[in-house]
C-alpha cells in the first residue's frame, strides 16, 4: 500500500454452530494445529461455553456459539487462513458453517488535517446538507464536524461465491490526529443455509479465496490512499 498503516490486521470470521469449549490451546496442540510450545505460551482470557478467547504469539482466537473468529496483526496473514482451514477441514468437518467473512482493517496517517478533511469532503460533501452545512463546518481540528462514518457496499462480486458482498467502511481514526480507519468486510454466504451439514463448502471458499480477498481489499483501501 502507498501509505504504510500504523495499525493493520486481518481477521477471518466463520458463522455456524460452535462449541466454544472445544477450542482450547491444548486441543489445537493435541491435533497438531499449533505446537506444544505455542499452546503452553498461550494467553488464555476466557474459556466458557459461551465464549472462548485466547491469544497466541501471532494471532488471537475467539469463539462464540455462532462464530469462530481468528485475527492477526502479524504478517504473513496466510497463517490464519491455514489454521482456520485445517481446523475445520481436518477436525471439525461436521460443524455446520454457513458464512465466511474475511476482514482487512488498517489505520493510517493522512499526514495533515487538510489531507484528511479533503478525503472527508470528497466522500461526504457538506454542501448537499443545505443550511446545516454551515454548522457542520464549525469547530477546529478534531472538534470540527463532518463525516463520522461511511460504508459502501458492492453486492455483485464476480468471483464464484454463491452470495455475499464486499463492504468498505471509512472513519476518522482514533489512533492519530490525522488518522483514517478503514475496514473491508468481504462476506461469503451459501445460498441454502438450512441444508448445510458441514464446514467443507465454506472452508473450501476460504482456502481458495483468502489471498485474492486480501489483495482486493487492499486495492480498495489503496483507492482512498490515492486521494491523498
Amino acid at each position: 500500500m502507498k501509505i504504510t498503516p500504523e495499525k493493520s490486521s486481518v481477521s477471518i470470521v466463520l458463522v455456524g454452530s460452535m462449541n466454544s469449549l472445544i477450542f482450547r490451546p491444548g486441543w489445537f496442540a493435541k491435533n497438531g494445529l499449533i505446537s506444544e510450545t505455542e499452546a503452553e505460551a498461550a494467553e488464555i482470557e476466557v474459556i466458557h461455553k459461551e465464549l472462548t478467547l485466547f491469544k497466541l504469539d501471532w494471532c488471537s482466537i475467539r469463539v462464540e456459539p455462532t462464530r469462530f473468529v481468528i485475527d492477526s496483526e502479524d504478517a504473513p496473514f496466510i497463517r490464519i487462513s491455514d489454521l482456520a482451514v485445517r481446523t475445520f477441514k481436518e477436525f471439525l468437518v461436521h460443524t455446520p458453517v454457513t458464512m465466511l467473512g474475511i476482514n482487512r482493517v488498517v489505520s493510517f496517517d493522512a499526514g495533515s488535517d487538510e489531507a484528511r478533511d479533503k478525503i472527508g469532503n470528497v466522500l461526504a460533501p457538506k454542501q448537499p446538507w443545505g443550511d446545516w452545512a454551515a454548522d457542520l463546518e464549525k469547530g477546529n481540528g478534531p472538534a470540527r464536524g463532518g463525516m463520522r462514518s461511511l460504508t459502501m457496499q458492492q453486492t455483485v462480486v464476480d468471483d464464484g461465491r454463491e452470495e455475499g458482498w464486499t463492504r468498505a467502511k471509512i472513519e476518522p481514526s482514533m489512533h492519530s490526529a490525522f488518522g483514517i480507519y478503514m475496514e473491508v468486510n468481504d462476506h461469503f454466504q451459501l445460498k441454502e443455509l438450512d441444508s448445510v451439514s458441514g464446514a467443507e463448502p465454506v472452508v473450501t471458499m476460504l482456502e481458495g479465496g483468502f489471498e485474492e480477498s486480501i489483495r482486493r481489499s487492499e486495492w480498495i483501501i489503496q483507492q482512498i490512499m490515492d486521494l491523498i
Binding site: S81, D82, T204, G208
Partner: protein, 374 residues
C-alpha cells in the same frame, strides 16, 4: 538473426535454452516441424517454440506435426500446454509412464491444492490432459516406448526425397518399473501435509529421441541418465537391436552435460566422429551444469560442442527499494534470477546438396562449449 524459414529441402535442428529449461525444434523438410519439450522465451514470455516459429514466419498451427514431452520436470515442460493448444494439427507424444492413471492421479492430487500451486510441471500436465481429452478422438496421442516409430514423413512429402522417421528409444520396461517405485514415494497420502511436487533424480522415464532423415540422423538425449544397468538408461539403448543402427551427426547432450547422463558407448557406437554436440545449461541451485569437468569430458569426444548460454550467477533483475535490497543481502546474500536469457543454437543442412555440411549459427548468448562455464 536471419528471419527466414528453412527451405523445403533444408533440415534444421534448433535448440533454445534460457538457462532454465530447453526446447528443440526440428524441421524435417517441406514445412514439417517437430517440437520437443518447451521453455519460456525470456524476451517475449511466450513459449519459446511459438516465439521462434512466428519470428521466422512459420505458422505453428499448420507446421508443427508432433509435440514431444520427454518428461515432466519443470524445466522441460513450461508452456507446453500452450504449444499444444496452438499447434492444432499436431499429435502429442510422451512417455508411457505419464499416460497411466496412477500418474494422472498424482498430478491431480498436487494440482488440486487450492491455495498453493502444485508446481509449473503439474499445472502444465493437467492442462495437457484437458487438451488431449478434447482432441484424442481426432488426433490420438502416442505413447513413447523403446524402439518405436512415433511419426513418419514419406519421401514424396519430405521436400528432399528422403523418408523421415521420429523414433523414441526409451523408456524400457525396467525403467518403467523404477518410475512406478518413485511415483509411490511422490504420491501423497492421507493426513500428510500438503507440499509442492518436486521430482527426484534420477530421471527414469525421460524419452531419448532419434530423428532419421534419409542417411542422416539426430540423437536428442532428453534428460535420460545412465545407470550402469544394461536394462535401463543409455546402456539399454546402446545394446538395443531394434532401433536403427545408425550414427548421428548431431547430439543433443542429455541432462545438461552432467556426468550421470554420460555413456562412453553412446559416443563410440551411436555418433559419428566429432559430432555436433549441443546442450542447454542448468543454472539453478547449487549444482550448476555443465561443470568444468563436464566440459572437459565432452570436449574429449568432440571439438564441436556448443551451449545455448553461459553458466552464470545472475542477480535478479527485479528492482526493489534500497532498504529492501539491503535486508535481502543481510539474510540470503543475493536473490538469483532463475533464467538468464534465451539463447539459441541453430543448425541447418541442405539435403539437396550432397556436399553440404551443417551450418552452425549462435544467437543471444549461445557460445562455444569451452566458454560455457565461468
Amino acid at each position: 538473426m536471419a528471419l527466414t524459414a528453412p527451405l523445403d529441402t533444408e533440415l534444421e535442428v534448433t535448440l533454445l535454452g534460457p538457462g532454465l529449461g530447453e526446447c528443440q525444434l526440428i524441421h524435417l523438410g517441406a514445412g514439417n516441424w517437430v517440437v520437443v519439450d518447451s521453455c519460456i522465451d525470456s524476451h517475449t514470455s511466450q513459449p519459446a517454440a511459438i516465439a521462434y516459429l512466428e519470428r521466422i514466419g512459420v505458422d505453428p498451427r499448420k507446421a508443427v506435426k508432433l509435440v514431444v514431452a520427454t518428461h515432466w520436470h519443470d524445466d522441460h515442460i513450461r508452456g507446453l500446454s500452450e504449444v499444444l493448444e496452438c499447434c492444432s494439427d499436431a499429435r502429442f507424444c510422451c512417455s508411457v509412464a505419464l499416460c497411466e492413471s496412477e500418474f494422472v492421479a498424482a498430478v491431480l492430487k498436487y494440482e488440486g491444492q487450492k491455495n498453493v500451486a502444485g508446481g509449473p510441471g503439474v499445472r502444465e500436465i493437467r492442462n495437457i490432459y484437458k487438451i488431449l481429452e478434447e482432441r484424442s478422438s481426432v488426433f490420438p496421442p502416442i505413447k513413447a516406448l523403446a524402439d518405436r516409430v512415433v511419426y513418419q514423413v514419406p519421401e514424396e512429402m519430405s521436400g528432399h526425397g528422403r523418408v523421415c522417421r521420429v523414433w523414441t528409444l526409451s523408456p524400457s520396461d525396467e525403467q518403467l518399473e523404477k518410475f512406478y517405485v518413485e511415483l509411490t514415494n511422490l504420491m501423497p497420502s492421507v493426513k500428510e501435509t500438503k507440499r509442492r511436487a518436486v521430482p527426484q533424480d534420477p530421471n527414469h522415464v525421460s524419452i531419448a529421441t532419434l530423428v532419421e532423415v534419409g542417411e542422416h540422423s539426430i540423437l536428442l538425449g532428453g534428460d535420460l541418465e545412465e545407470t550402469g544397468n544394461p536394462l535401463t538408461g543409455w546402456s539399454m539403448i546402446v545394446s538395443s537391436q531394434a532401433r536403427p543402427q545408425v550414427k548421428s551427426s548431431v547430439f543433443k547432450i542429455p541432462h545438461h552435460g552432467s556426468e550421470n547422463a554420460h555413456c562412453d558407448d553412446v559416443w563410440a557406437t551411436m555418433l559419428e566422429d566429432n559430432p555436433l554436440a549441443i546442450l542447454t545449461p542448468y543454472n539453478r541451485g547449487v549444482k550448476k551444469r555443465p561443470s568444468q569437468d563436464d566440459v572437459a569430458r565432452i570436449s574429449y569426444f568432440t571439438e564441436n560442442g556448443y551451449s545455448t548460454a553461459q553458466i552464470k550467477v545472475a542477480k535478479t533483475k527485479k528492482k526493489r527499494e534500497r532498504d529492501v535490497e539491503k535486508m535481502i543481502n543481510d539474510v540470503v546474500g543475493k536473490i538469483r534470477a532463475v533464467s538468464v536469457g534465451t539463447g539459441m543454437i541453430r543448425l541447418r543442412r541442405n539435403m539437396s546438396d550432397l556436399e553440404s555440411n551443417w551450418d552452425v549459427e549462435l544467437f543471444d548468448g549461445a557460445c562455444d562449449l569451452s566458454k560455457a562455464c565461468l
